[in-house]
């Protein structure tokens, strides 16, 4: 177990390092420096600016400096508004995190409930309905759903107020973001629940007179949750990218919409810093999920 944890930790650190490496060198492959503005600056100014931001040093030294700063939590300055990126992330990430976690919680809860219901009422009407909608919603991209929701509930039938000055209404964004993972988890937990219900230990439990409630919740559901947990880790990455467009559509000032703005503005330092930040987050989430998975299911072998 410890050997496995160390191996996974090593791999995670290596991945983050490679992400930093790729991001750094890709950003430096873009022609034109950060000081190429419409107004031409004098040679001396550019030299001074380059010296100020260590851009006159060789590339590998710049990379080491960047990594040093990164490890100290300093991510540089936005090219467009001159603010410190760590400050921007600090104020906008909590909004994105809240949106993402809410969506994830909704997806996990509804997905397992729907999936188990479908498995328990196999081939009856609720099962058919659940299968129909889960198949449908795995084919709807989140940004389409978000725009359709916006069209339906804010423009055609203005029931829900999305845009308000100080309070963010999370209802529609969470629905849009959670729809796809909910549908996927529903399908996943249905198959795994059916699988669990056909196991010998369920028959044994039934034979010794365990109540249906206990049988489902203690024996079947717990085992059927294992694939759902494996799925939840990589899902963090989906939630992050999904929330980018959702935040843009619903004009929520989270990190996702900041990232999209940075892309359209070609704000390279911001793109770089946000990519590294989010990628690290994804890697950590995957690591935690993988370790949890091994912890939950002792049958898994450590290779």
């Amino acid at each position: 177990m410890i050997k496995y944890v160390i191996k996974r930790l090593f791999l995670a650190v290596l991945t983050v390092f490679i992400i930093c490496l790729i991001t750094f060198f890709l950003m430096h492959a873009i022609p034109g420096g950060p000081f190429n503005k419409e107004k031409a600056l004098s040679e001396a100014t550019i030299a001074a600016l380059n010296a100020r931001y260590n851009l006159d040093k060789p590339l590998w030294q710049q990379f080491i400096l960047y990594m040093d700063n990164f490890l100290h939590g300093y991510l540089g300055v936005s090219l467009k508004n001159g603010r410190e990126i760590s400050a921007i992330i600090g104020e906008s990430f909590p909004i994105s995190a809240r949106l993402g976690l809410l969506a994830m919680a909704v997806a996990l809860l509804l997905g397992t409930v729907f999936g188990s219901t479908a498995a328990l009422m196999r081939n009856k009407l609720p099962d058919r309905l659940i299968v129909f909608f889960s198949t449908l919603f795995t084919a709807v991209p989140s940004f389409i759903l978000a725009t359709l929701l916006l069209l339906l509930f804010c423009i055609k039938f203005p029931i829900i107020q999305v845009w308000s000055a100080n309070k963010i209404n999370y209802l529609l964004p969470v629905i849009a973001l959670a729809a796809y993972p909910t549908a996927y988890i529903t399908r996943l937990s249905k198959t795994s629940m059916l699988d669990a219900l056909s196991q010998d230990y369920i028959r044994t439990a039934r034979a010794k007179g365990v109540s249906k409630f206990l049988m489902i919740f203690k024996h079947a559901l717990r085992n059927s949750l294992i694939p759902v947990i494996t799925y939840a880790g990589p899902q963090i990455a989906y939630i992050i990218t999904g929330s980018m467009v959702i935040e843009t559509i619903f004009t929520i000032g989270g990190l996702g919409s900041k990232f999209v703005t940075a892309i359209t503005n070609r704000d390279y330092t911001m793109i770089m810093a946000t990519t590294i930040f989010l990628a690290t987050l994804v890697v950590i989430a995957n690591l935690v999920c993988d370790l949890l998975y091994k912890l939950v299911d002792p049958r898994i072998q450590f290779d």
Partner: protein, 360 residues
Amino acid sequence: MDKEPSFKKNPLSLQIDLSKFSQESFAPATEEEKRQQDVMGESTTFFKDGMRKLFRNPLAVMSIIFICLILLVIIFAPMVVPYKYEEILSVEGRRDKGAKNLAPFTYSELEQKYIENGGTRFPHIFGTDEMCRDYFIRVVYGTRVSFFIGLFAAIIVLIIGMLYGSISGYLGGKVDLIMMRIVDIIYSLPDMLMIILLSVVLQETLQFPSGTFLARLGTSMVSLFIVFGLLYWVGMARLIRGQILSIKENEYILAARSIGAKPGRIIRKHILPNCLSVIIISTALQIPSAIFTESFLSFVGIGVKAPMPSLGSLANAAREGLQSYPYKLVFPAVMICLIVLSLNLLGDGLRDAFDPKLKR
């Protein structure tokens, strides 16, 4: 055989007691009995059997029909509709400024006058967009672009993944270990972020001579393919390596080898057909995921180049006038959903037909 056996038969012996059989038992078979040996049903191959199962699945058949319909429309509609996707509408050489944001099946004032004077005008089936372009043909081209990207990306992923996976699976040992560690690292990179990053950078750095096919496609599309080629093959490589490894260990391979089958025959007859179903299924499921990715990128604004439409960029453009022209969102949105849905259902059908064991 006429003679009685001279020894007494052990009651526990399984040896056939010939005394129990009469003379007739050894008579040659009659014509009727011979006919019982005839094979009535034709023997099916693996592929035929799978196809039969596939065509029994109503959902899969429906998606096949739908996909064929879409393909027909995107191939033939540009020949029938006299408008081009980048063409700003004009009537007899005059720019039609009134043809902005027309509703489906309506004409602008200029066009109405033209029709009253005896001219014929092809209807704007989906109306027009904010730049006076026929919206139907734009949606058709958008679908074309999305389909093309999905197919091409799936092929790229298939080729790279298959080569890498089979080399790793065949060679095994140290080479396999190193190759799989590389796959592990690429696998743990967050793909969407890397795609965004690469597309942003490649758009700035890639330059194609104008007029070539690549230039028409736009740097963002090419960078999308590069990204698919760089990142998305890992899943396929893993899958194929795993398949080859597990198939190699099967008893029937051992049996084939023991009766002296040559490696070429084993690969052709035993390993390949068993891999093929997995390869077909995952390639089919790769297409909708590529379409998803493309529409997402176009929506963020790093997809196809401006005059060229894609379903994602059309949906994004429709957000501007959402209040007044909601149908402009509905057409591309419904199109994406239907395409992805039917491809998903087809992929599921293929999986059920060709490999019931495989679960996602």
